[in-house]
Symmetry: C2
Subunit: 375 residues, 2 copies
Amino acid sequence: MSRVAFEIEGRDGRARTGKLILPRGEIRTPAFMPVGTAATVKAMLPDSVRATGADILLGNTYHLMLRPGAERMARLGGLHRFMNWERPILTDSGGFQVMSLAELRKLTEEGVRFRSHVDGSEHMLTPERCMEIQRLLGSDIAMCFDECPALPAERGAIAASMALSMRWARRSRDAFGDRAGHALFGIQQGGLEPDLRAESAEALTRIGFDGYAIGGLAVGEGQEAMFGVLDYAPGQLPDDRPRYLMGVGKPDDIVGAVQRGVDMFDCVLPTRSGRTGQALTRFGSVNLRNARHAEDPRPLDPDCACPCCRSYSRAYLHHVVKTGEIIASMLLTWHNLHYYQELMQGLRAAVAQGALDAFAAAFHARRAEGDVAPL
Amino acid sequence: MSRVAFEIEGRDGRARTGKLILPRGEIRTPAFMPVGTAATVKAMLPDSVRATGADILLGNTYHLMLRPGAERMARLGGLHRFMNWERPILTDSGGFQVMSLAELRKLTEEGVRFRSHVDGSEHMLTPERCMEIQRLLGSDIAMCFDECPALPAERGAIAASMALSMRWARRSRDAFGDRAGHALFGIQQGGLEPDLRAESAEALTRIGFDGYAIGGLAVGEGQEAMFGVLDYAPGQLPDDRPRYLMGVGKPDDIVGAVQRGVDMFDCVLPTRSGRTGQALTRFGSVNLRNARHAEDPRPLDPDCACPCCRSYSRAYLHHVVKTGEIIASMLLTWHNLHYYQELMQGLRAAVAQGALDAFAAAFHARRAEGDVAPL
C-alpha cells in the first residue's frame, strides 16, 4: 500500500511535531483544521482562512451529501474547486452527524438508513457508499465510516459498537482501495475502556491506515475523562502515523492533547463562538456582548496581528455584536481562527525546541490572569 | 464662506463628470456611495468596499445617534476610526429614518420628538441637534435636517412641508457654521411640483450650500415620475455645485439620472440584494435561489473581475444562498457593489468622452437581452 508521507521532525515527551505531505500541500503538525461544514468556513473567505495559517480544512460528508450532493459535486469538479480552496481537505465520515442530526435512523450491519433533516429524503450510508461519497467530493483525507455511541454507555454496548466500527473499518479500507496521494484514516473507538481502546487500535493497525483518529471523545465526558483516555490511547496507535483527535476542542484541551501525543484537531468552537460574540484569546474567552466593552478603545488583544485586533476596538466589536451586524461574525471568526493557528504555531515551535512544558505553563498562567483589566 | 472644491472636468448634454475634493480624499463623480447604516457596510470589510472603487460611504445619523450614540462616538475618536474607513463619509440628516422607523413621532416647528425603535428611549432631533450629531460623528459631508413627506400628498401639504424644510435648512446652515474641509448640503423638496421645486431651490441657493440634494424622490412615485422631476430639478440648482439624488437607486435609475445632470447617489439596493440572494449584473438581476443555477459552473458574469465572479460558480452561489451561509451575503454584496462602481466608472468615462448616449444605449441593450442563456 502506498502511504502518504508523515515526517516527524521533533519530539518533546510524548508530543511530536512534523508534517503530513499531500499533493495539495503540507500540513504542519500539530495542526488545527477549521471546520467548513457546508463548503464554507462560516463567515470567512478561503483566502482569509489561509491567511490565519490553516493548512487544511474539514468538510462534513453528511451535509455535503445532502446539499449539494456528492454526484453533483463531482460533476462540478469537486469540493476544492467548488469552495475555492486548493489546499488539502479532510472529510469526516458522516457517521457522527447521521446520529446527531438525521431523522428516523435505522442502524444495521450493512450501515445506517436515515432521513435528511433538510427535506426528509431517504438516504443510506454504508462504509462503501461513504468511501464513494468522499471520493466524489475529492477529499484528500477520508475517514472510515464508524459508529460513535453516546457516553455514558454500558461496557457491553461500547464493545459491540466498537466491534461494528472495526468491521466497517475493514470494509472502508477495501472500498477505498489504493489511491495515490489520498489518505484514509481509521478511527479508534472503545469509549473510556483501556482494553477496548487497545483492541480497537490493534484491529485498525492490522488493517493499516495512513493515520488514526481517536474517536468517541469530546461527546460530553469532560476534560478529565478525555485526558484520562489520552494518557494511553495515542500510545496504542502506530507511532509513525498522524493521530487525530476528532471534534476537539477548547484551547486548553488542545494543549493537553498535544502534550499527550495528538497531532491533528478540528472543532467548530472558534467559528461558532465568532458568530455569537465570543472571542477566544490568550487570556481566555471574552464576551463582546458585555456592556463593559461599550467604550473600550482597546483591541481584543493588543499583541494579536489579526485584522480584527489591528483595526477595531472592543467598543466597535461590542456595537456590531449588539446590532447583529454580519461584520461581527466576520471579524470575530477571523480573530478566533487566527488565535487558534497562532496557538498551533506556538505548540509546534515549543515541541521542536523541547520546551513544551514551559510553553504550557505560560499558556495556563496567562489564562489564570484572565482578560486584560477594564479601563 | 469657505467652500469644498468641486471640479467639473467634462460635460455631455446635462451630464457632468468631475471630482469633489475633501481632505480625506477625492470623490469622483458621478459617484455611488455604499450605505454603511450602523457603522458597517453590511457583510463587507472596509478594505473590500474600497477595493470595489468606492470613494465615500454614507452613514445613517438616526441609527448611529441611537447606537452607539453621537457623544460616545466622539469619545471613541469619531466614525472613521470606529469603523476603520479613512476616506470621506456623508451622513444623512436622520429625518427620513425618523419618519419611517421611529415610534411616537411628534413634529413641531422646533423639530421632531420620537421614541427609539431599539429601546423606546425618547429623543429630539432639531436642525441644531442634527448638526451637532453629524459633527460628533465626524462626518465629511453633513446633510440639512429636513422633512420628507410621503407621496402622494396634496399640494398644500407638500408646500407647507417644503417651507418648513427651508426654515430648517436656514437653521442647519447657521448651526453648522463654517468648518474648513467639511461640507454641508441643502436638500431640495417640493414633491412633483415644478414651481415648489423652483421655490425650494431658490431658498437653498440664497442660503448657500456646498452641494444640493434632490430630496423627496424614490419614495414610491415610480421611475417615470422621478425622471419627470429630474428633467427640470437639477437645472434649478447651482451648476457649479454637486447634485445628489438621495436613496437612488436601481442601475437604470442611475443611468437616467446621470443623463439628467445628477452627480451623486446612495442606495441600499446592492447591499440589501446581496443579502437576499439577488445579484445585479450587466444583464439585469439574477436570483441565485432559482434552481436553474444548481449545476451551472459559470460565474455570475464571466467578464466581471470581482472576487465572487473570479472564483465562484453560480452553482456554489446557489448552494450557499440556499443553505443560508454568511458567505453568500459576503460574495453577492461584493459583486453588487463592484458592479455599481464599475457602472459609475463607465458613466464617468462616457461623459468625459462625450459618449453618454451610446453608453446608455448599450446599457439598455444588454439588459434587454437578459441574463446569459441557461446551459
